[in-house]
């Protein structure tokens, strides 16, 4: 049998199984994939253990997020060092993005004042990684603090910067400078505050941007800006979350008692598709998810390729007294999975997940498999809960 024939059979099998994956009652099985040792080297994570201990004591999380790309590689974001590190499903190191220590030339010569020839280096002053995303071309988008800039790296891990002529003038905007310039034009603000970043299967980039201006029409609610793969601004999209196919989602807030219970879905072009009622199953106690009579606003919303929706809630691990810093840096996570029509599918409880500054370190891949990271004494352990029907 030729390779081509086997490939065709594989494709047919995937096609046949696809509806089943979405429709079937999911059954998750726990599996520890690999452990990434603590250390400063590119293929390790964080720093020396005693330094991490100090960091945990100060309440600074090590990780900023986890991501699974379409190749099945698992990427971990390092919060403090502004790096994303990729590993294969087996734990083999792939590469690091953002691994570039600041050089003196990257920094301004004097504090608070830039020399005239300074044209900006995207990673200058970056103090923390908030979130990150990666498209199918391998281009990475690292959302960093301060001032929530999105540093763009190409597939080789090199930062994408504007083109500057020999005389120092910018003649083509690229990367974050291009994104930011357009956002400033669209929002009429100096500092667009980016809260989240996503990529879809067409390599479009989505940023959740809040409007910090004092204008009367300004709202604290973030809105989603869609950019093409060349980072040209396409438009504003409704909702607050983005699925892998570019559909956006947002909780309808028609009345206080139904907050979070209705999820509106919009096409990639921003057209309203549907609003589904997320109906909790009777066997789950209302105290588990309710807030003032409806669904509480979850810590995060994840979507898989079948448009199944995962509501992620987290709680601190146990109560004081706490003696173990590694345990203290974790949270317990509850995930409620709903079908695209709003039917409850399952609840997944993860007793120990690495805490980050925002969403717990949990991701779903396009098949709906759940990946999460947890801190151990020697390294970060990556776990995986797969459905039985995973191809």
């Amino acid at each position: 049998m030729t390779n081509m024939t086997m490939t065709r059979i594989g494709i047919i099998a995937v096609c046949l199984l696809t509806p089943l994956v979405g429709a079937a009652q999911s059954t998750y099985t726990e599996q520890s994939l690999f452990t990434v040792e603590y250390g400063w080297e590119p293929w390790k994570i964080g720093s020396y253990v005693h330094m991490l201990t100090d960091r945990f004591q100060q309440g600074v999380p090590l990780l900023s997020g986890i991501l699974v790309n379409d190749k099945g590689d698992v990427w971990l974001g390092e919060a403090k060092d502004c790096m994303a590190k990729g590993f294969t499903y087996d734990g083999e190191f792939v590469r690091v993005v953002g691994y570039r220590r600041l050089q003196p030339s990257d920094l301004p010569h004097e504090p608070h004042r830039l020399p005239p020839e300074y044209k900006g280096y995207p990673w200058a002053f970056a103090t923390g990684l908030v979130d990150f995303a990666m498209d199918r071309r391998g281009i990475s988008y690292l959302l960093v603090n301060p001032d929530t800039r999105v540093i763009v790296f190409d597939a080789d891990g090199e930062p994408i910067q504007s083109r500057i002529a020999a005389d120092g003038l910018c003649y083509e905007l690229r990367g974050w400078e291009k994104i930011c310039y357009q956002l400033r034009q669209e929002m009429d603000v100096v500092w667009p505050v980016v809260e989240d970043v996503w990529c879809d299967i067409d390599n479009n980039v989505y940023l959740a941007v809040s409007d910090p201006s004092d204008a009367p029409e300004a709202t604290s609610q973030a809105k989603i800006a869609q950019f093409s793969e060349t980072l040209d601004f396409i438009g504003w999209r409704p909702g607050r979350y983005v699925g892998p196919d570019g559909k956006t989602y947002g909780f309808a807030a028609k009345s206080a008692e139904r907050v979070g219970s209705e999820l509106a879905k919009f096409t990639a072009k921003g057209k309203h598709m549907d609003t589904v009622r997320l109906i909790p199953p009777p066997q789950i106690a209302p105290t588990d998810y309710q807030a003032e009579g409806g669904w509480a606003i979850p810590d995060g919303v994840l979507v898989d390729a079948y448009e199944n929706v995962y509501l992620v809630f987290s709680d601190p691990v146990g109560d004081s007294p706490r003696t173990d810093l590694w345990t203290e840096a974790q949270v317990t996570v509850r995930i409620y999975k709903f079908s695209e029509t709003g039917d409850f599918i399952t609840k997944v409880s993860l007793p120990s997940v690495a805490r980050t500054a925002s969403l717990p370190c949990v991701a779903v891949d396009s098949f709906g498999d759940i990946y999460y990271a947890m801190y151990r004494k020697t390294g970060v352990e990556v776990h995986h809960q797969s459905t039985m029907l995973r191809p």
Binding site: P116, F125, R149, D167, L169, C170, Y171, Y181
Partner: protein, 391 residues
Amino acid sequence: MTLLRIGRAMLLFAVVLSGVASFGDEQNYGELQNPEYPGVMLFSIPYGSQPGQVGFRKLEHSEAAGPSHVKVDRHGNVWLLSGSQVKAFRRDGTLLRVAGRVTRSDTDQAEDARSPLEHLRFIRKYAIDGRGYVYFTGDRPLTHLFVINESNEVVLSDRDVYGNLVQVRGEEKMLWQLQRQFGHEIAKACIGGLTGPLFMGTDEADHLYLLADAPVQDKERSGTEMCFYEFTPDLEFVGTVPGYYMGPDGYTYEFAAGNTAENVRLHTYDREGNRVRTTRLIRPEGPWPGCSRPVFDWSHNIYLPCSSKRDQPVAVVPGVQIRSDYNVYKYNPDGELLAKFKIPNPPVHRGAASPIAVDEDENLYYLNFGASELQVMIVETKKYPTSTTTP
């Protein structure tokens, strides 16, 4: 490549005008009743490097950057180029303004070192508009096209603390638009690069025109090598305009070979770039080997400066002087030769500049090197007969 094209264009200009000069002796096309109307001194400026002075006292500096390039703004003020500065004088000779690299006191040296004009040695070309904006290019390879506002500040893009563009302005704005529309080569031909624009001027609407290599599509359509790139006062790119010379009302002009050896044609284009007139210019009396850039007034009269013989310029204090016998021939829009004005020993006009200027009242201005002062000369051309030729 750009240098070659500019050289070719200038050669074409020389060839066309030498055709004017070589009109046959056997047929007399015009006889001037009074061939040499005299100019009178408007005011004089002492030589020196002080603000109210022009030129240098040392010959080595004078060779490179002696006073030259007289222009008159819409308020009647006279502008001169001197070294790294452009100076404006009222009609009584009092200094009005100095734009360019200003030498500050010792205490301000550190501040001066941060100026974008820090490395500017000599200004090569400049233009002024009615608002008091000054545009000029420097003498260095990869030079800049500086935009100076009415407050003598260099107009630069706004950047955030990371060096990212907030609002693109000035030279960078022009470069950016040209790059986007025509590519990098054209953008650099117009803005900076090795040569910068061949000529720049403004019209009564304060639009800026840069003469540079024509885009490929224009070359293919009209066969022209050079064209004007027009910008609004806010430096928004308007489009390309055919022509090689421009008048104060935004009309542009271009020489072409005549239908016989005894004449030359002058195409006139309106503000939209439509050809509105083709004038046949007949030769004045005598041989006519060297011509400089003509200027035009609001009535579309043509002022063509030419020398009767080709001599090497001579370096004197405070500049470089042309010893040739220079005359300005004034034609009306129909090509009728009106008058001839003698310019004795004008300063060298570097690049594609003209040694003369004309104001709204059709007064002709030129410079004359005196023993210890620069004389700004004026000829009230309207006082002379409107037609002095006898066809």
